[in-house]
Protein backbone atom coordinates (compact mmCIF):
# COMPACT_ATOMS: atom_id res chain seq x y z
CA UNK A 1 0.00 0.00 0.00
CA UNK A 2 1.51 3.29 -1.10
CA UNK A 3 0.10 6.37 0.54
CA UNK A 4 0.87 9.81 -0.75
CA UNK A 5 -0.19 13.07 0.81
CA UNK A 6 -1.74 15.90 -1.16
CA UNK A 7 0.13 19.19 -1.31
CA UNK A 8 -1.20 21.87 1.01
CA UNK A 9 -1.49 19.79 4.17
CA UNK A 10 -0.25 21.82 7.19
CA UNK A 11 3.29 20.72 8.05
CA UNK A 12 4.44 20.48 11.65
CA UNK A 13 7.49 22.48 12.72
CA UNK A 14 9.44 20.64 15.43
CA UNK A 15 10.63 22.46 18.54
CA UNK A 16 13.57 21.45 20.78
CA UNK A 17 11.11 19.59 23.02
CA UNK A 18 9.54 17.60 20.16
CA UNK A 19 12.45 17.09 17.75
CA UNK A 20 13.08 13.50 18.91
CA UNK A 21 9.50 12.57 18.05
CA UNK A 22 9.73 13.87 14.49
CA UNK A 23 13.24 12.43 14.01
CA UNK A 24 11.81 9.08 15.08
CA UNK A 25 8.86 9.39 12.73
CA UNK A 26 11.24 10.09 9.86
CA UNK A 27 12.97 6.79 10.71
CA UNK A 28 9.68 4.91 10.94
CA UNK A 29 9.53 4.81 14.74
CA UNK A 30 6.69 6.00 16.95
CA UNK A 31 8.49 7.43 19.97
CA UNK A 32 6.69 8.05 23.25
CA UNK A 33 8.02 9.14 26.60
CA UNK A 34 7.73 7.43 29.96
CA UNK A 35 7.47 8.99 33.42
CA UNK A 36 10.37 7.85 35.63
CA UNK A 37 8.21 7.97 38.74
CA UNK A 38 5.12 6.11 37.59
CA UNK A 39 6.26 4.22 34.51
CA UNK A 40 3.29 5.63 32.60
CA UNK A 41 3.65 6.65 28.97
CA UNK A 42 2.63 10.12 27.81
CA UNK A 43 2.12 12.24 24.70
CA UNK A 44 2.58 14.87 23.27
CA UNK A 45 6.32 15.16 23.95
CA UNK A 46 7.66 17.30 26.78
CA UNK A 47 10.83 17.09 28.89
CA UNK A 48 8.99 16.26 32.13
CA UNK A 49 6.18 14.04 33.33
CA UNK A 50 2.62 15.40 33.25
CA UNK A 51 1.80 12.93 36.03
CA UNK A 52 4.32 13.98 38.68
CA UNK A 53 6.39 16.82 37.23
CA UNK A 54 9.61 14.81 37.37
CA UNK A 55 12.26 15.58 34.77
CA UNK A 56 13.33 11.93 35.04
CA UNK A 57 11.75 10.75 31.81
CA UNK A 58 12.84 8.45 28.99
CA UNK A 59 12.05 8.02 25.33
CA UNK A 60 10.95 4.61 24.05
CA UNK A 61 9.57 3.12 20.87
CA UNK A 62 5.88 2.32 21.00
CA UNK A 63 4.42 -0.84 19.48
CA UNK A 64 2.52 1.15 16.88
CA UNK A 65 -0.64 -0.74 17.75
CA UNK A 66 -3.74 1.30 18.57
CA UNK A 67 -7.52 1.27 18.59
CA UNK A 68 -9.92 3.75 17.04
CA UNK A 69 -11.19 5.91 19.92
CA UNK A 70 -13.39 8.46 18.15
CA UNK A 71 -13.55 10.50 14.95
CA UNK A 72 -15.52 12.66 12.56
CA UNK A 73 -15.75 12.28 8.79
CA UNK A 74 -15.31 15.74 7.36
CA UNK A 75 -17.37 16.50 4.27
CA UNK A 76 -16.19 20.03 3.46
CA UNK A 77 -13.21 21.02 1.31
CA UNK A 78 -9.99 21.79 3.16
CA UNK A 79 -6.63 22.67 1.56
CA UNK A 80 -4.53 19.50 1.36
CA UNK A 81 -7.45 17.09 1.81
CA UNK A 82 -10.14 15.58 -0.40
CA UNK A 83 -13.43 15.09 1.43
CA UNK A 84 -14.81 12.98 2.85
CA UNK A 85 -11.95 12.12 5.19
CA UNK A 86 -11.82 10.96 8.79
CA UNK A 87 -10.12 13.06 11.47
CA UNK A 88 -9.52 10.49 14.16
CA UNK A 89 -8.20 10.11 17.67
CA UNK A 90 -6.57 6.75 18.32
CA UNK A 91 -5.67 5.18 21.64
CA UNK A 92 -2.18 3.72 21.55
CA UNK A 93 -1.55 0.35 23.13
CA UNK A 94 0.65 2.13 25.69
CA UNK A 95 -2.21 4.42 26.79
CA UNK A 96 -1.79 7.89 25.27
CA UNK A 97 -4.10 9.14 22.56
CA UNK A 98 -3.20 11.08 19.43
CA UNK A 99 -4.94 12.73 16.51
CA UNK A 100 -4.32 11.15 13.12
CA UNK A 101 -5.94 10.00 9.90
CA UNK A 102 -7.03 6.45 9.10
CA UNK A 103 -5.70 5.26 5.76
CA UNK A 104 -6.06 2.11 3.70
CA UNK A 105 -9.82 1.80 4.13
CA UNK A 106 -12.96 3.61 2.97
CA UNK A 107 -13.74 6.79 4.88
CA UNK A 108 -17.18 5.56 5.91
CA UNK A 109 -18.86 4.79 9.24
CA UNK A 110 -19.19 1.16 8.14
CA UNK A 111 -15.45 0.78 7.56
CA UNK A 112 -14.56 2.64 10.75
CA UNK A 113 -16.21 1.01 13.77
CA UNK A 114 -15.01 2.33 17.12
CA UNK A 115 -12.32 0.21 18.78
CA UNK A 116 -11.10 -1.04 15.39
CA UNK A 117 -7.57 -2.46 15.71
CA UNK A 118 -5.03 -0.25 13.95
CA UNK A 119 -1.31 -0.06 13.24
CA UNK A 120 0.89 2.93 12.55
CA UNK A 121 2.22 3.75 9.10
CA UNK A 122 4.59 6.64 8.47
CA UNK A 123 3.98 8.77 5.40
CA UNK A 124 6.60 11.33 4.34
CA UNK A 125 5.70 14.97 3.73
CA UNK A 126 9.29 15.87 2.79
CA UNK A 127 12.82 14.77 3.70
CA UNK A 128 12.47 15.94 7.29
CA UNK A 129 8.86 15.23 8.27
CA UNK A 130 6.85 12.02 8.16
CA UNK A 131 3.37 11.84 9.65
CA UNK A 132 2.22 8.94 11.82
CA UNK A 133 -1.03 7.74 10.23
CA UNK A 134 -2.90 4.55 11.07
CA UNK A 135 -4.43 1.72 9.02
CA UNK A 136 -6.54 -1.27 9.97
CA UNK A 137 -4.28 -3.88 11.54
CA UNK A 138 -3.29 -6.70 9.19
CA UNK A 139 -3.64 -9.38 11.85
CA UNK A 140 -5.37 -8.13 14.96
CA UNK A 141 -3.83 -9.75 18.01
CA UNK A 142 -6.15 -12.15 19.83
CA UNK A 143 -8.24 -10.37 22.40
CA UNK A 144 -7.22 -6.92 21.26
CA UNK A 145 -9.96 -6.05 18.83
CA UNK A 146 -12.80 -4.28 20.51
CA UNK A 147 -10.89 -3.74 23.73
CA UNK A 148 -9.94 -0.28 24.94
CA UNK A 149 -6.41 -0.82 26.22
CA UNK A 150 -6.42 1.98 28.79
CA UNK A 151 -3.29 3.01 30.63
CA UNK A 152 -0.63 0.34 30.84
Amino acid sequence: MTITLEPGRPKPMPTPETKHFWDGAKDGKLLLQRCGDTGRAYFPPRPFSPYTGTRNVSVFEASGRATLHSYVIHHRPVPGFTPPYAIAVVELEEGPRMMTNIVGCPQTPEALPLDLALEVVFVPMDDAISLPLFRPAATPAAGRTGVSMGVE
Partner: protein, 384 residues
Protein backbone atom coordinates in the same frame (compact mmCIF):
# COMPACT_ATOMS: atom_id res chain seq x y z
CA UNK B 1 -12.14 35.73 52.86
CA UNK B 2 -14.72 34.05 50.69
CA UNK B 3 -17.25 35.51 48.29
CA UNK B 4 -20.57 36.28 49.96
CA UNK B 5 -23.38 35.10 47.64
CA UNK B 6 -25.26 38.04 46.18
CA UNK B 7 -22.73 40.68 47.25
CA UNK B 8 -22.18 41.79 43.64
CA UNK B 9 -24.83 42.33 40.97
CA UNK B 10 -25.26 43.01 37.27
CA UNK B 11 -26.84 46.46 37.00
CA UNK B 12 -26.48 47.02 33.27
CA UNK B 13 -26.85 44.52 30.46
CA UNK B 14 -27.29 44.92 26.73
CA UNK B 15 -26.43 43.42 23.38
CA UNK B 16 -25.36 45.26 20.25
CA UNK B 17 -28.10 47.29 18.59
CA UNK B 18 -28.08 44.78 15.74
CA UNK B 19 -27.20 41.08 15.58
CA UNK B 20 -26.60 38.89 12.55
CA UNK B 21 -24.88 40.66 9.69
CA UNK B 22 -23.48 43.98 10.90
CA UNK B 23 -21.08 44.95 8.12
CA UNK B 24 -20.85 48.58 9.22
CA UNK B 25 -18.98 47.86 12.48
CA UNK B 26 -15.55 46.39 13.22
CA UNK B 27 -14.96 44.20 16.26
CA UNK B 28 -14.06 47.11 18.53
CA UNK B 29 -17.03 48.99 17.12
CA UNK B 30 -19.37 46.15 18.05
CA UNK B 31 -17.89 46.02 21.58
CA UNK B 32 -18.30 49.78 21.95
CA UNK B 33 -21.90 49.70 20.67
CA UNK B 34 -22.75 47.03 23.26
CA UNK B 35 -20.90 48.94 25.99
CA UNK B 36 -22.78 52.17 25.27
CA UNK B 37 -26.08 50.26 25.31
CA UNK B 38 -25.22 48.67 28.66
CA UNK B 39 -24.19 52.06 30.08
CA UNK B 40 -27.52 53.49 28.92
CA UNK B 41 -29.31 50.58 30.61
CA UNK B 42 -27.50 51.39 33.87
CA UNK B 43 -27.68 55.17 33.49
CA UNK B 44 -23.87 55.46 33.52
CA UNK B 45 -21.21 57.30 31.53
CA UNK B 46 -17.70 56.04 30.69
CA UNK B 47 -16.31 58.17 33.51
CA UNK B 48 -18.37 56.15 35.99
CA UNK B 49 -16.62 52.90 35.02
CA UNK B 50 -13.37 51.96 36.80
CA UNK B 51 -12.91 48.34 35.69
CA UNK B 52 -12.83 46.79 32.22
CA UNK B 53 -12.60 43.34 30.65
CA UNK B 54 -12.25 42.48 26.97
CA UNK B 55 -11.03 39.17 25.58
CA UNK B 56 -7.54 39.00 24.23
CA UNK B 57 -3.87 39.80 24.51
CA UNK B 58 -3.27 43.54 24.77
CA UNK B 59 -6.86 44.27 23.85
CA UNK B 60 -8.34 45.72 27.12
CA UNK B 61 -6.20 48.83 26.70
CA UNK B 62 -7.51 49.33 23.17
CA UNK B 63 -11.12 49.28 24.32
CA UNK B 64 -10.51 51.32 27.48
CA UNK B 65 -8.96 54.13 25.47
CA UNK B 66 -11.59 53.82 22.73
CA UNK B 67 -14.42 54.22 25.26
CA UNK B 68 -12.66 56.83 27.39
CA UNK B 69 -12.35 54.69 30.51
CA UNK B 70 -9.54 54.89 33.09
CA UNK B 71 -9.69 51.50 34.79
CA UNK B 72 -8.29 50.44 38.18
CA UNK B 73 -9.05 46.79 37.32
CA UNK B 74 -8.31 45.07 34.02
CA UNK B 75 -8.98 41.55 32.75
CA UNK B 76 -7.98 40.21 29.33
CA UNK B 77 -8.69 36.55 30.11
CA UNK B 78 -9.06 34.76 26.78
CA UNK B 79 -10.05 31.11 27.03
CA UNK B 80 -12.62 31.05 24.23
CA UNK B 81 -16.36 31.57 24.26
CA UNK B 82 -16.79 31.27 28.02
CA UNK B 83 -14.22 34.02 28.71
CA UNK B 84 -17.06 36.31 29.79
CA UNK B 85 -18.15 33.90 32.52
CA UNK B 86 -14.59 34.11 33.84
CA UNK B 87 -14.66 37.91 33.52
CA UNK B 88 -17.88 38.03 35.57
CA UNK B 89 -16.36 35.76 38.21
CA UNK B 90 -13.14 37.80 38.34
CA UNK B 91 -15.05 41.11 38.40
CA UNK B 92 -17.24 39.94 41.27
CA UNK B 93 -14.13 39.03 43.26
CA UNK B 94 -12.46 42.34 42.34
CA UNK B 95 -15.47 44.38 43.41
CA UNK B 96 -15.77 42.40 46.65
CA UNK B 97 -12.06 43.07 47.29
CA UNK B 98 -12.35 46.78 46.51
CA UNK B 99 -10.18 46.67 43.38
CA UNK B 100 -12.87 48.58 41.50
CA UNK B 101 -16.42 49.77 42.05
CA UNK B 102 -18.03 49.42 38.63
CA UNK B 103 -16.78 46.90 36.09
CA UNK B 104 -17.63 46.78 32.39
CA UNK B 105 -17.34 43.42 30.58
CA UNK B 106 -17.52 43.64 26.81
CA UNK B 107 -17.80 41.42 23.78
CA UNK B 108 -17.75 42.29 20.11
CA UNK B 109 -16.99 39.90 17.30
CA UNK B 110 -17.32 40.23 13.56
CA UNK B 111 -17.75 36.49 13.18
CA UNK B 112 -19.70 36.69 9.93
CA UNK B 113 -18.38 39.83 8.23
CA UNK B 114 -14.82 39.40 9.55
CA UNK B 115 -14.13 43.12 9.84
CA UNK B 116 -10.87 43.63 11.76
CA UNK B 117 -11.10 40.24 13.42
CA UNK B 118 -8.34 38.41 15.24
CA UNK B 119 -8.69 34.80 14.00
CA UNK B 120 -5.51 32.99 12.97
CA UNK B 121 -4.67 29.37 12.16
CA UNK B 122 -2.34 27.60 14.60
CA UNK B 123 1.36 28.26 14.10
CA UNK B 124 3.12 25.11 12.82
CA UNK B 125 5.49 24.98 15.83
CA UNK B 126 2.72 25.07 18.46
CA UNK B 127 1.44 21.82 19.92
CA UNK B 128 -1.77 22.20 17.90
CA UNK B 129 0.27 22.98 14.80
CA UNK B 130 2.40 19.86 15.23
CA UNK B 131 -0.03 17.30 16.59
CA UNK B 132 -3.50 18.24 15.30
CA UNK B 133 -3.38 20.58 12.30
CA UNK B 134 -1.51 18.10 10.01
CA UNK B 135 -4.48 15.73 10.17
CA UNK B 136 -7.02 18.06 8.61
CA UNK B 137 -9.13 19.76 11.25
CA UNK B 138 -10.49 23.01 9.88
CA UNK B 139 -12.25 25.03 12.53
CA UNK B 140 -14.61 24.06 15.36
CA UNK B 141 -17.04 21.90 13.28
CA UNK B 142 -14.21 19.43 12.62
CA UNK B 143 -12.85 19.43 16.17
CA UNK B 144 -15.66 19.89 18.67
CA UNK B 145 -17.65 16.81 17.57
CA UNK B 146 -14.65 14.44 17.65
CA UNK B 147 -15.60 12.95 21.07
CA UNK B 148 -19.25 12.44 20.07
CA UNK B 149 -19.02 8.91 18.60
CA UNK B 150 -17.35 7.67 21.79
CA UNK B 151 -20.09 9.30 23.89
CA UNK B 152 -22.78 7.75 21.67
CA UNK B 153 -21.26 4.27 21.90
CA UNK B 154 -20.69 4.48 25.66
CA UNK B 155 -24.25 5.49 26.51
CA UNK B 156 -26.33 4.36 23.54
CA UNK B 157 -27.02 7.97 22.57
CA UNK B 158 -28.64 8.43 19.15
CA UNK B 159 -28.44 10.99 16.37
CA UNK B 160 -32.14 11.68 17.02
CA UNK B 161 -31.24 12.95 20.49
CA UNK B 162 -28.79 15.50 19.09
CA UNK B 163 -31.34 16.47 16.46
CA UNK B 164 -33.91 17.02 19.22
CA UNK B 165 -31.62 19.55 20.88
CA UNK B 166 -31.79 21.65 17.72
CA UNK B 167 -35.55 21.17 17.36
CA UNK B 168 -36.34 22.23 20.94
CA UNK B 169 -34.08 25.25 20.78
CA UNK B 170 -35.76 26.33 17.56
CA UNK B 171 -39.04 26.25 19.49
CA UNK B 172 -37.57 28.72 21.97
CA UNK B 173 -36.14 30.84 19.15
CA UNK B 174 -39.61 31.05 17.62
CA UNK B 175 -40.65 33.10 20.65
CA UNK B 176 -37.76 35.55 20.27
CA UNK B 177 -37.98 38.32 17.64
CA UNK B 178 -34.18 38.85 17.71
CA UNK B 179 -33.38 35.18 17.02
CA UNK B 180 -31.67 34.60 13.69
CA UNK B 181 -33.55 31.37 12.85
CA UNK B 182 -37.19 31.20 14.00
CA UNK B 183 -39.06 28.82 11.68
CA UNK B 184 -39.93 25.48 13.29
CA UNK B 185 -37.86 22.43 12.29
CA UNK B 186 -38.39 18.70 12.77
CA UNK B 187 -36.03 15.91 13.77
CA UNK B 188 -36.19 14.73 10.15
CA UNK B 189 -35.22 18.21 8.94
CA UNK B 190 -32.11 18.07 11.14
CA UNK B 191 -31.19 14.51 10.16
CA UNK B 192 -31.58 15.34 6.47
CA UNK B 193 -29.69 18.62 6.59
CA UNK B 194 -26.31 18.97 4.90
CA UNK B 195 -23.54 16.78 6.31
CA UNK B 196 -20.67 18.77 7.81
CA UNK B 197 -18.58 16.33 9.86
CA UNK B 198 -20.28 13.00 10.42
CA UNK B 199 -22.15 12.41 12.69
CA UNK B 200 -22.93 16.15 12.75
CA UNK B 201 -25.03 17.98 10.18
CA UNK B 202 -25.40 21.69 9.64
CA UNK B 203 -28.50 22.07 11.84
CA UNK B 204 -26.51 20.57 14.75
CA UNK B 205 -23.90 23.35 14.37
CA UNK B 206 -24.13 26.91 15.61
CA UNK B 207 -24.72 30.01 13.55
CA UNK B 208 -21.98 32.41 12.54
CA UNK B 209 -22.96 36.03 13.14
CA UNK B 210 -21.73 39.51 14.00
CA UNK B 211 -22.64 41.02 17.33
CA UNK B 212 -21.68 41.72 20.89
CA UNK B 213 -22.85 42.35 24.40
CA UNK B 214 -21.81 44.08 27.58
CA UNK B 215 -22.44 43.72 31.29
CA UNK B 216 -21.91 46.23 34.11
CA UNK B 217 -21.32 44.93 37.62
CA UNK B 218 -21.20 46.72 40.94
CA UNK B 219 -21.64 45.94 44.63
CA UNK B 220 -25.07 44.81 45.80
CA UNK B 221 -25.14 47.69 48.27
CA UNK B 222 -25.26 50.12 45.32
CA UNK B 223 -27.36 47.93 43.02
CA UNK B 224 -30.76 49.24 44.11
CA UNK B 225 -29.80 52.78 43.01
CA UNK B 226 -29.82 51.84 39.32
CA UNK B 227 -32.82 52.09 36.97
CA UNK B 228 -33.04 48.39 36.08
CA UNK B 229 -33.60 45.38 38.29
CA UNK B 230 -30.31 43.89 39.48
CA UNK B 231 -29.27 40.31 38.79
CA UNK B 232 -27.34 39.15 41.83
CA UNK B 233 -24.30 36.93 41.40
CA UNK B 234 -24.75 34.05 43.79
CA UNK B 235 -21.87 31.81 42.74
CA UNK B 236 -19.32 31.13 40.07
CA UNK B 237 -16.77 28.59 38.90
CA UNK B 238 -14.07 28.27 36.27
CA UNK B 239 -11.50 25.83 34.94
CA UNK B 240 -9.51 24.77 31.91
CA UNK B 241 -8.61 21.30 30.71
CA UNK B 242 -6.79 21.24 27.39
CA UNK B 243 -6.00 23.23 24.28
CA UNK B 244 -6.02 20.02 22.22
CA UNK B 245 -9.27 18.07 22.04
CA UNK B 246 -7.28 14.93 21.21
CA UNK B 247 -5.86 15.12 24.73
CA UNK B 248 -9.21 15.45 26.56
CA UNK B 249 -9.10 12.98 29.45
CA UNK B 250 -12.54 11.46 28.98
CA UNK B 251 -14.39 11.80 25.67
CA UNK B 252 -17.75 11.36 27.42
CA UNK B 253 -17.33 14.15 29.99
CA UNK B 254 -15.61 17.53 30.35
CA UNK B 255 -13.26 17.85 33.30
CA UNK B 256 -13.50 21.65 33.06
CA UNK B 257 -17.31 21.38 33.35
CA UNK B 258 -16.96 19.07 36.35
CA UNK B 259 -14.76 21.61 38.14
CA UNK B 260 -16.55 24.86 37.26
CA UNK B 261 -20.15 23.71 37.76
CA UNK B 262 -19.93 22.21 41.24
CA UNK B 263 -17.76 25.12 42.41
CA UNK B 264 -20.53 27.55 41.43
CA UNK B 265 -23.26 25.50 43.10
CA UNK B 266 -21.21 25.20 46.30
CA UNK B 267 -20.46 28.94 46.39
CA UNK B 268 -24.11 29.82 45.81
CA UNK B 269 -25.27 27.28 48.38
CA UNK B 270 -28.02 26.00 46.11
CA UNK B 271 -29.25 22.58 45.00
CA UNK B 272 -30.25 21.52 41.50
CA UNK B 273 -33.92 21.61 42.49
CA UNK B 274 -33.54 25.34 43.19
CA UNK B 275 -32.70 26.11 39.54
CA UNK B 276 -35.54 27.69 37.57
CA UNK B 277 -33.71 28.42 34.33
CA UNK B 278 -30.60 27.09 32.65
CA UNK B 279 -28.28 28.19 29.88
CA UNK B 280 -25.73 25.71 28.54
CA UNK B 281 -23.50 27.07 25.79
CA UNK B 282 -24.46 25.16 22.65
CA UNK B 283 -21.86 25.72 19.98
CA UNK B 284 -22.87 22.23 18.83
CA UNK B 285 -25.79 19.98 19.69
CA UNK B 286 -23.87 17.67 22.02
CA UNK B 287 -22.84 20.39 24.47
CA UNK B 288 -26.17 20.63 26.33
CA UNK B 289 -26.00 16.85 26.90
CA UNK B 290 -22.49 17.00 28.34
CA UNK B 291 -23.47 20.05 30.40
CA UNK B 292 -26.62 18.54 31.88
CA UNK B 293 -24.64 15.47 32.96
CA UNK B 294 -21.39 17.12 34.07
CA UNK B 295 -23.28 19.72 36.14
CA UNK B 296 -25.29 16.95 37.77
CA UNK B 297 -28.78 17.79 36.51
CA UNK B 298 -29.22 14.25 35.17
CA UNK B 299 -27.33 10.95 35.63
CA UNK B 300 -24.60 9.97 33.14
CA UNK B 301 -25.91 9.07 29.71
CA UNK B 302 -29.47 10.23 30.38
CA UNK B 303 -29.38 13.81 29.06
CA UNK B 304 -30.48 12.87 25.55
CA UNK B 305 -33.56 11.11 26.81
CA UNK B 306 -34.21 14.00 29.25
CA UNK B 307 -34.29 16.46 26.34
CA UNK B 308 -36.42 14.13 24.17
CA UNK B 309 -38.89 13.97 27.05
CA UNK B 310 -39.25 17.77 26.70
CA UNK B 311 -37.92 18.65 30.14
CA UNK B 312 -35.94 21.59 28.68
CA UNK B 313 -38.61 22.65 26.14
CA UNK B 314 -41.22 25.39 26.58
CA UNK B 315 -43.44 24.23 29.43
CA UNK B 316 -40.82 21.78 30.71
CA UNK B 317 -39.55 21.67 34.26
CA UNK B 318 -36.05 22.94 33.42
CA UNK B 319 -36.29 25.55 30.64
CA UNK B 320 -32.91 25.66 28.88
CA UNK B 321 -31.38 27.92 26.23
CA UNK B 322 -34.51 30.02 26.10
CA UNK B 323 -33.11 32.58 23.64
CA UNK B 324 -32.75 29.81 21.04
CA UNK B 325 -29.09 29.27 21.83
CA UNK B 326 -26.07 29.31 19.62
CA UNK B 327 -27.94 26.94 17.31
CA UNK B 328 -30.77 29.40 16.54
CA UNK B 329 -30.35 32.77 18.32
CA UNK B 330 -26.87 34.02 17.44
CA UNK B 331 -23.24 32.89 17.65
CA UNK B 332 -20.44 35.33 16.96
CA UNK B 333 -17.70 32.83 17.69
CA UNK B 334 -17.75 33.56 21.42
CA UNK B 335 -21.35 32.98 22.44
CA UNK B 336 -20.90 33.05 26.23
CA UNK B 337 -21.83 36.74 26.45
CA UNK B 338 -25.22 35.99 24.87
CA UNK B 339 -25.93 33.15 27.30
CA UNK B 340 -25.17 35.54 30.16
CA UNK B 341 -27.44 38.21 28.66
CA UNK B 342 -30.33 35.73 28.50
CA UNK B 343 -29.82 34.62 32.11
CA UNK B 344 -29.84 38.28 33.22
CA UNK B 345 -33.02 38.96 31.21
CA UNK B 346 -34.71 35.92 32.75
CA UNK B 347 -33.95 36.89 36.38
CA UNK B 348 -34.96 40.48 35.59
CA UNK B 349 -38.21 39.15 34.12
CA UNK B 350 -37.77 40.87 30.73
CA UNK B 351 -36.86 38.00 28.37
CA UNK B 352 -38.82 37.64 25.10
CA UNK B 353 -39.57 34.02 26.02
CA UNK B 354 -39.89 34.75 29.71
CA UNK B 355 -40.05 31.74 32.03
CA UNK B 356 -42.53 32.44 34.86
CA UNK B 357 -41.03 33.36 38.21
CA UNK B 358 -37.30 32.83 37.64
CA UNK B 359 -35.57 33.14 41.00
CA UNK B 360 -32.33 31.35 40.06
CA UNK B 361 -30.66 30.98 36.65
CA UNK B 362 -27.54 28.91 35.99
CA UNK B 363 -25.40 29.98 33.04
CA UNK B 364 -22.72 27.55 31.92
CA UNK B 365 -20.15 28.19 29.22
CA UNK B 366 -17.50 26.34 27.28
CA UNK B 367 -14.32 27.71 25.73
CA UNK B 368 -12.29 26.27 22.90
CA UNK B 369 -13.08 22.62 22.17
CA UNK B 370 -13.94 21.45 25.69
CA UNK B 371 -10.84 23.47 26.61
CA UNK B 372 -12.27 25.75 29.26
CA UNK B 373 -15.39 26.36 31.28
CA UNK B 374 -17.12 29.02 33.34
CA UNK B 375 -20.33 28.89 35.33
CA UNK B 376 -22.28 31.83 36.77
CA UNK B 377 -25.34 31.51 39.00
CA UNK B 378 -27.66 34.53 39.03
CA UNK B 379 -30.37 35.29 41.58
CA UNK B 380 -33.37 37.60 41.40
CA UNK B 381 -33.09 38.37 45.10
CA UNK B 382 -30.15 39.12 47.32
CA UNK B 383 -29.85 36.34 49.91
CA UNK B 384 -30.62 37.71 53.34
Amino acid sequence: MSYVPGSVAVVGAAETTHLGAVPNLSEIGLAADAALNAMADAGLKPGDIDGIAWVGAMRPQLLAQYLGITPRWVDGTSVGGCSFMLHVRHAAAAIAAGYCNTALICHGESGKSRIAGAQRPPEPATLNGQFEAPFGPFGPPTLFPIPVLRYMKTYGVTEEMFATVAVVQREWAGKNPRAMFRDPISVDDVLNSRMIAWPFRILMCCLVTDGGGALILTSADRAKDFPGKPAYILGSGESVETGMISQMEDFTSSRAFRVAGPEAFKMAGIAHADVDHLMIYDAFAHLPLYGLEDLGFVPRGEAGRYIMDRNTAPGGKLPMNTNGGGLSYTHTGMYGMFALQESVRQVRGIAPAQVPDVDISVCHGVGGMFGASGTIIFGRDRPS
